[in-house]
């Protein structure tokens, strides 16, 4: 299989003398940095840490579900496991994953800017994230929380004596971290574009992050106030959600899902951005229907705000509002379909190579297609009645979040790793990891669709014995999946020291980030570039290369 990997001659290759990594030394130069690239690395380290903690809980959950009896841990411990798994994975991993690491690193560079608009707020948002993370760990160490990540009232306010307020504070604080990241991105994208970088010359990764940022900025505050009210209801005893005082617990659900449904798009949109970059690069082709893909991101963001009540179809919302929300849910599925077909069509008449990021991207498209289409089951009112709150839901959103987002995150990490670190990871091992992840994923979550239709409820510590076979399959798959996630962790760490020198543009990609050295210098560009070409212009890149060869040679 031929490859477009164009690494420099390893005997003579060196990393750039001055880059953002070695520009300053000492731990303080990291902790007080305003450099978006360094903050991205800080984020990368922290979210990886939390990913593995959240993953450990997932492992424990699957282990417990190996047998129908509640035998590994006590019920409340099990409940704490899935609560912690949810809180950590959603608020501390998925929401910040691509935007805060890759987005933070790349958006200014892709726009031709020296940094995000507000570097200090960027650093502040990392600190808020760390405070949120620390509070979560505090809640965990003090004895855990067992509300489920949804904090359903009145269960969370009146019927549990775990550390709900600590966890709520953690989410509140982490929420502000996400608001500030989104705000920074939006301002940067509006105000910091290099001369000539018009909206429709921006890489699709930027478009996707822009859409996600809109959701972060508009949605997260609503979660914040809902969570404040829960905390106040628990501590002081105000009565806004308390049915015994005349409050309406369904109001909480409305406020909560008003954020938490868009949050799903906060999680997936940046991943879609990554996939657009990867597919384009390894097809050597401009993304098919650039405008359609860009606008579909924005459409998802806009429609995403008006579908929240589809989480409440069986809760006695009026039939007519259920109809409206079901219809809107169907509409929000369309832009995702458009994207999928555009990615597929990009391959047509391309010149494809299959590097690791491309394999992950293929995995993404496959799994996301299944994840998206099973979402239609749940948007379809009558079907939702049977499927909601079962393992079908669990399988569906793991297909989107893990099969989709995590695959995209790994695609992005493998794609930009040479840019982040200046070094290359072992190619064959990383391909193996991509394949193992894919197989492990299918094995883990496919059985859960069947379990869901059989009616196995989610968040069950014990289950009827007839569900065991499928659960064992799922647990077995989770083991494979775990290996698939450990592998990149190991070889990426290895590559930091021993990896081949990557050179500026190992993939021969077109983005601005590939035109500067790897790792980039602290100020990104010595001279702010003037952009007089469209995104994904591979012909121009070829010409430049030829020109270079003739003039130099």
């Amino acid at each position: 299989m031929s490859t477009i990997l164009s690494l420099p001659d390893q005997r003579t290759a060196t990393l750039p003398k001055k880059n953002y990594l070695n520009n300053e030394h000492g731990i303080l130069s990291w902790l007080l940095t305003g450099d978006h690239k360094r903050i991205a690395i800080l984020y990368l380290i922290s979210i990886t840490f939390f990913f593995f903690i959240g993953g450990a809980f997932a492992g424990l959950i699957r282990l417990e579900l190996l047998t129908p009896q509640p035998d590994l841990v006590a019920s409340d411990t099990y409940n704490k496991f899935f609560t912690m798994h949810g809180i950590i994975m959603i608020f501390l991993f998925l929401v910040p994953s691509v935007p805060a690491t890759l987005g933070n690193f790349l958006i200014p560079i892709m726009l031709g800017a020296r940094d995000l608009a507000f570097p200090r707020i960027n650093l502040l948002s990392w600190y808020l994230y760390i405070i949120g993370g620390t509070l979560t760990l505090t809640a965990l160490v003090l004895g855990g929380v067992d509300t489920g990540w949804t904090f359903t009232t009145p269960l969370s306010t009146h019927y549990l004596n775990t550390h709900v307020v600590t966890a709520a504070t953690a989410i509140f604080v982490a929420g502000f971290s996400s608001i500030f990241t989104g705000l920074n991105f939006i301002v940067t994208i509006h105000r910091m574009r290099a001369p000539g970088m018009s909206w429709f010359r921006m890489p699709l990764f930027v478009w996707a992050n822009y859409a996600a940022s809109l959701l972060m900025v508009l949605g997260t505050p609503v979660l914040a106030i809902a969570i404040v009210l829960v905390a106040l209801e628990r501590t002081i005893g105000i009565g806004i959600f308390d049915p015994t005082k005349g409050g309406d617990p369904l109001l909480f659900q409305h406020l909560f899902w008003f954020y938490s449904h868009p949050a799903v798009y906060i999680m997936i949109l940046p991943g879609m951005g990554v996939i657009s970059e990867v597919i384009s690069t390894f097809s050597r082709k401009r993304i098919f229907g650039y405008t359609a893909v860009a606008f579909s991101s924005v459409a998802i963001a806009v429609f995403g705000f008006f579908v929240w009540a589809h989480h409440m179809f069986i809760m006695g919302v009026s039939n007519y509002s259920a109809l409206v929300f079901s219809l809107l849910t169907m509409l929000v599925a369309v832009p995702s379909a458009i994207k999928t077909f555009n990615w597929s069509a990009t391959l047509y008449k391309g010149s494809l190579t299959f590097e690791t990021p491309m394999l992950y991207a293929f995995g993404f498209i496959g799994l996301f297609t299944i994840g998206g289409l099973t979402g239609v089951f749940l948007g379809s009112l009558g079907m939702d009645v049977h499927l909601t709150e079962t393992y079908f839901i669990v399988a569906h959103f793991h297909f989107v979040m893990v099969g989709g987002m995590l695959m995209a995150f790994l695609a992005g990490i493998h794609f930009w790793w040479p840019k982040l670190t200046g070094r290359m990871y072992p190619e064959s091992l990383s391909k193996l990891a991509a394949v193992v992840t894919f197989i492990g994923f299918i094995l883990t979550f496919m059985p859960q669709f069947i379990l869901g239709y059989l009616g196995m409820p989610r968040r069950y510590h014990a289950y009827p014995p007839e569900f065991q076979v499928l659960n064992v399959l799922s647990t077995a798959g989770a083991t494979v999946l775990g290996v698939g996630y450990m592998l990149p962790m190991l070889y990426l760490a290895w590559s930091l020291k021993y990896g081949a020198i990557a050179g500026d543009n190992p993939w021969q990609a077109t983005g601005l980030e590939w035109q500067i050295s790897s790792p980039p210098p602290t100020e990104n560009f010595h001279e702010i570039p003037i952009v007089d070409y469209e995104a994904y212009d591979y012909e121009r890149l070829e010409k430049l290369k030829k020109h270079e060869v003739t003039t130099v040679g």
């Binding site: 097809s283 006695g316 169907m330 379909a337 494809l352 379809s380 009645v385």
Partner: protein, 347 residues
């Protein structure tokens, strides 16, 4: 459904016996399954199309075979195609799903009613005839059964997968669900909304019986007092009959035959008197003052349990004349020195 009933039966039986598919035990189930298979087909076709595109292009346009990519800007026609076709399919799913939803949540008029109270972590079923069950539910085959449900504490969700029905059980308001079981046997009841520590222990069994067996069961397991009779005792012991006695001078409106009627309220609203209205009027009387009466009724919030409220509602449903109310009034006045506590009244 498009495929022959025999094939359908065979398919379902085969899937069910390999533990890949739930039993079809209610009249709703085949409708739900038909939509399920349609959606499954849609997913399969969608995934296969995408997979074929990926694989074909990967083989045909890999760099060795096609070293130079041809730049294509896009195609409005194609964009429109893959916007409109998925949209059309999704709209079919929407309409089909909506029809099914209305079928699932619109009980037939002749359905029999059973009350269900959810609490951490058990299901209490109350039959109008006075049969009380915990984590079990006995229903006759071939008769539509409506469940009127309420939670005593947190959100629960009543789910019978083999019937393909489910409904959230919410504190402070009644929700209903109905089914018509078709096959005798026992089926799982799950609580599907996370409700605290023993959420996974909040399970039960619904037993579907032939009408004759069910008849036998009701006779053997009655507690001797129907819900309406319990309600009558509460009605008397809470002193409801002091005002709602149907006499001309009564301070409260006449309640005989009130269930199912339209009532005019002082604030001008006209309301249908149903379970939810009665419950609300007992707990929050000042918001439901009948036209022509003074807002003097005290609230019974915190004084009657959910079961007690159900008893009262069941009593009012069956109250056709005030004869017995007035009778009770006389006896309770004469027995005023030794009031008895009715079951369902909080001590």
């Amino acid at each position: 459904m498009g495929i022959s009933p025999v094939l359908w039966q065979f398919l379902i039986k085969w899937l069910h016996s390999s533990a890949l598919f739930p039993a079809e035990a209610s009249t709703i189930a085949p409708y739900a399954d038909a939509l399920y298979f349609f959606l499954l087909l849609m997913t399969l076709v969608g995934t296969v199309i995408v997979a074929i595109l990926l694989v074909t292009f990967s083989l045909r346009y890999r760099a060795e075979k096609n070293p130079v990519a041809t730049q294509i800007e896009g195609s409005t026609l194609l964009e429109a195609t893959w916007t409109i076709i998925p949209l059309a399919i999704f709209l079919v799913c929407f309409v089909w799903g909506a029809l099914l939803y209305f079928r699932i949540y619109s009980p037939p008029a002749n359905s029999m009613n059973i009350y269900v109270v959810g609490k951490q972590w058990m299901w209490k079923a109350e039959h109008p005839g006075g049969q009380h069950e915990i984590n079990a539910l006995h229903v006759p085959m071939g008769k539509p059964v409506q469940l009127t449900m309420i939670s005593q504490d947190v959100f629960h969700s009543f789910s019978v997968p083999d019937f393909r029905v489910k409904r959230e059980v919410i504190p402070g308001r009644y929700t209903t669900v109905w089914f018509n079981a078709t096959t005798p046997g026992t089926y799982h009841i799950f609580c599907t909304q996370y409700c605290g520590t023993l959420h996974s222990g909040m399970i039960g069994e619904v037993t579907v019986m032939t009408p004759s067996d069910y008849e036998k069961w009701t006779q053997e397991s009655t507690s001797g007092m129907s819900l309406a009779q319990n309600g009558e005792r509460i009605f008397a012991s809470m002193g409801c009959n002091a005002c709602h006695n149907g006499t001309a001078a009564a301070r409260g409106p006449n309640l005989a035959g009130v269930y199912g009627s339209k009532m005019q309220l002082t604030d001008g609203r006209q309301v249908l008197v149903d379970d939810a209205y009665l419950r609300d009027a007992i707990l929050n009387p000042s918001q439901h003052v009948t036209a022509g009466y003074a807002p003097i009724m005290p609230t019974y919030q915190g004084q009657i349990s959910e079961e007690g409220l159900i008893d009262l509602i069941e009593y009012l449903k069956n109250l056709n004349s005030n004869y017995r109310v007035q009778q009770t009034l006389n006896t309770s006045q004469s027995n005023a020195t030794a009031p008895e506590t009715a079951p369902g009244v909080k001590p």
